[in-house]
Amino acid sequence: MLQTLVYVGVLPCLTVAMVLAFVRLVRGPDLPDRVAALDLLGALGIAALSAYTLATGYSAYLDVGVVVGLIGFLGTVAFARYIERGV
């Protein structure tokens, strides 16, 4: 039941959301737009890994989600600092 919901409902919706975020990543008129799209992609990745953990029961994917969240935060903060400094 939950597996079917994840495979039929959640993961396709997250895939559509990733495609939309990629649209902004490609079209973004400036660098902050692209960084925002990357931030959203990281969040979507965490959600997809969490839903996959729920469907399969492999808890290793959740560890990957934790690491993706950490790296995404550090990447966004580093990009913001470099943008503000004017590189």
Binding site: M1, L2, L5, V6, G9, V10, C13, L14, V16, A17, M18, L20, A21, V23, R24, P29, D30, L31, P32, D33, V35, A36, A37, D39, L40, A43, L44, I46, A47, S50, A51, T53, L54, G57, S59, L62, D63, G65, V66, G69, L70, F73, T76, V77, F79, A80, R81, I83, E84, G86
Partner: protein, 132 residues
């Protein structure tokens, strides 16, 4: 009891997915970088939190629950910080702001490059003019 748990899991999963989809629509549709950051920071935080709580609720493993809740706490702590830094950097870089912006408390406070506007017509707050 199992029925309640499964029902709550389904509600959290669907709600979180809807929030994430709305965040992605917002990042494409919004006319301005600050509005885009605003849309994705709130909606994606709530969406990720809901999906992770659904995973924590559906699992019987204590380790999975602990990691999911820890990730929720981490995301709730870090996303506002990252979004605020990114928004401030975009503003000081001189990103074009939406034409319908009403309050800009930093106007003139930072000597960035000249700023343009973007987006379509702003919504009229009081309806068409010249009525009486």
């Amino acid at each position: 009891m199992d029925l309640v748990r499964d029902g709550l899991t389904v509600v959290l999963l669907c709600g979180g997915t809807a929030f994430l989809l709305l965040a992605a629509v917002g990042v494409v549709r919004m006319p301005d970088v600050l509005l885009r950051i605003s849309a994705i920071s709130k909606a994606s935080t709530l969406g990720v939190g809901c999906v992770l709580l659904a995973t924590a609720l559906a699992s019987d493993d204590v380790g999975v629950r602990a990691r999911a809740v820890a990730t929720v706490v981490f995301v709730f702590l870090t996303t506002p910080v990252a979004s605020h830094m990114l928004g401030r950097a975009a503003y000081r870089r001189g990103a074009p702001l939406w034409r319908g912006m009403v309050v800009d408390e930093w106007r003139g406070a930072c000597d960035g490059p000249t700023r343009g506007t973007t987006g379509g017509e702003p919504p009229t707050a009081r309806g068409p003019e010249g009525d009486g």
